[in-house]
């Protein structure tokens, strides 16, 4: 009659010597896989202002503007993502023809004010620089290549 209870007690006792599975979070950061979808990074020089990302965004959190420069090409001027409503669905990076907008493994988005969640082009570009530095350019290139390969596979 008491057998089930004792079995349960045995199970919990057996766990005590086992190795912990949790991370000391702020000291030890999780290691995200390559495809992880965190906060975006943006390469202004790559952008051709095609507006596809803004159009495909389900929550309309991207707003951008650009002007036609001397060389008859469009140049990006402002690029804002509102992370209050961004759902990190990755659709924008999927449609981007030049890979100007990509996702990083930055996942900490807590801010003290809502205004701070409004990320502009400088912030996104800086995030990109930091991410590239962190990952190493070669690593990023590999990631980029893998993504390109994936894209090729899709078509």
């Amino acid at each position: 009659m008491m057998f089930g209870l004792l079995k349960g007690l045995g199970v919990t006792l057996r766990q005590i010597p086992k190795k912990n599975v949790t991370l000391q979070y702020p000291d030890v950061k999780p290691d995200w896989p390559d495809r992880f979808r965190g906060v975006h990074k943006f390469y202004p020089e790559k952008c051709i202002v095609c507006n596809q990302c803004a159009r495909v965004c389900p929550t309309s959190c991207i707003s951008l503007s650009g002007t036609r420069g001397e060389d008859k090409k469009m140049h990006i001027e402002t690029y804002d993502i509102n992370f209050e409503i961004c759902i990190l669905c990755d659709l924008c990076t999927e449609v981007c023809p030049t890979e100007a907008i990509q996702m990083t493994d930055t996942f900490e988005l807590a801010e003290y004010s809502r205004d701070a969640l409004f990320k502009n082009i400088e912030w996104l570009a800086e995030n990109g620089r930091q991410h590239d530095a962190r990952k190493g350019k070669s690593d990023d290139q590999a990631n980029h290549d893998a993504k390109a390969a994936d894209k090729a596979g899709e078509q």
Binding site: F3, L5, G8, V21, P58, I87, D90, G153
Partner: protein
């Protein structure tokens, strides 16, 4: 002695209550500790997914489906892409179908694991919840690796899936399966045989087959009555007909059956995953699908077996690239309806045990 004056007490459980799994509110009328009437009040998490869908293209709807039953987002993904593909007669590559099955079944296992943990937490046991999270974490990591997100995957596309499996992914699943079996044994030892647990769930909250069918229940709440009904077998979609798996059913339709079926189903899901990774064909993962999806005008209904039951999508299209009307048949919403009749004349101590066993997710109930 004068007649003792007694009063019924109205107790408002939720929307902020630890065991209502989100923001469900149940107003219960108590006579002592006996529930005389229970009225669920929902809508606290209503985000208007159906209305939002009317303004979104089909590929944009997929991330919204992630957020319905957010603990089994892969299966939700499957529901919407399956519905659109059926409506448009899109064939998808075999490999994509297999990948869908694999991620779907992994996600189903994760969702069932969470049920087991949360249910035991409702019943006052803390440890199973954490053991469940340990196991679930491995699955979430696998899904994170293939889709890039831990919870809201947005992985499936009309015409296939977004990514092929990363290198070494199948090997990792193969590693995971023995670990899962070990943990499964642990849950079985820790929970299933526990006399205290059994006394709280056995024979409590039971209903019959006919009642279940009349209420339109699906998934485990229906199967717990012994009715063999699983869309993966009964209305086979995707490539489920190629795998050898069982549909476990209960006998009494009580809390215990509902709990135990979750365990048994996880085992079957892992069986499917095992077979699928052994027999997955090579090839592309994205088939031919138009860039802008337009469903021919008409009305379509297609359902898949979600983690909670039949997850159906009804689309009215007027030929444009956005649905004219979309109705989501959310299993949690339908299953929750049986709660008032189940709770009537039960002891309040069983309230949480019954509510928890129905396995609802409020994101899905309120949509």
């Amino acid at each position: 002695m004068a007649e003792l004056r007694t009063e019924e007490m109205l107790l408002n459980v939720g929307p902020q209550h630890p065991s209502t799994h989100g923001v469900l509110r149940v107003v219960i009328k108590l006579d002592g500790e006996i529930i005389r009437e229970a009225t669920p009040v929902i809508g606290y998490l209503h985000r208007g997914t159906e209305k939002l869908s009317e303004d979104l293209q089909y590929q944009q709807i997929i991330p919204y489906f992630d957020r319905l039953d957010y603990i089994s987002a892969m299966l939700n993904n499957h529901a919407i892409v399956n519905a659109v593909e059926k409506a448009m007669d899109i064939e998808i590559p075999e490999r994509a179908e297999y990948l869908r099955v694999i991620v779907g079944e992994l996600n189903r296992t994760a969702a069932h694991l969470l049920f087991v943990g949360a249910y035991l937490l409702d019943l006052g046991a803390m440890s199973p919840f954490l053991y469940v999270f340990m196991t679930r974490e491995r699955i979430i990591e696998l899904l994170n690796e293939i889709s890039g997100a831990r919870l809201t995957y947005n992985y499936m596309r009309v015409g296939g899936v977004k990514y092929d499996a990363p290198p070494g992914w199948f090997a990792k699943i193969r590693e995971f399966i023995p670990y899962f079996k070990e943990m499964y044994q642990l849950f079985d030892d820790l929970i299933t045989g526990n006399e205290i647990f059994i006394s709280r769930v056995k024979g409590i909250g039971s209903y019959g087959q006919e009642e279940a069918i009349n209420y339109g229940l699906s998934g485990i709440p229906l199967r717990s009555t012994g009715f063999k009904w699983d869309l993966r077998k009964n209305k086979s979609y995707s490539v489920y007909d190629r795998f050898d798996f069982e549909i476990p059913v209960g006998t009494n339709g009580d809390n215990y059956d509902r709990y135990y079926l979750h365990l048994l189903e996880m085992e079957q899901s892992m069986r499917i995953v095992e077979q699928a990774i052994d027999s997955i064909p090579e090839g592309p993962v994205m088939g031919k699908a138009p860039k802008i999806l337009r469903i021919p005008a008409g009305e379509y209904y297609a359902a898949v077996e979600g983690a909670k039951g039949e997850l159906g999508v009804y689309i009215v299209s007027d030929g444009k690239d956005k649905p004219y009307r979309m109705k989501i048949r959310r299993p949690s919403f339908v299953n929750l309806q049986i709660i008032p009749s189940l709770l009537k004349d039960q002891n309040i101590a069983d309230f949480i045990a019954i509510l928890g066993s129905i396995d609802i997710v409020l994101g899905e109930v309120d949509a």
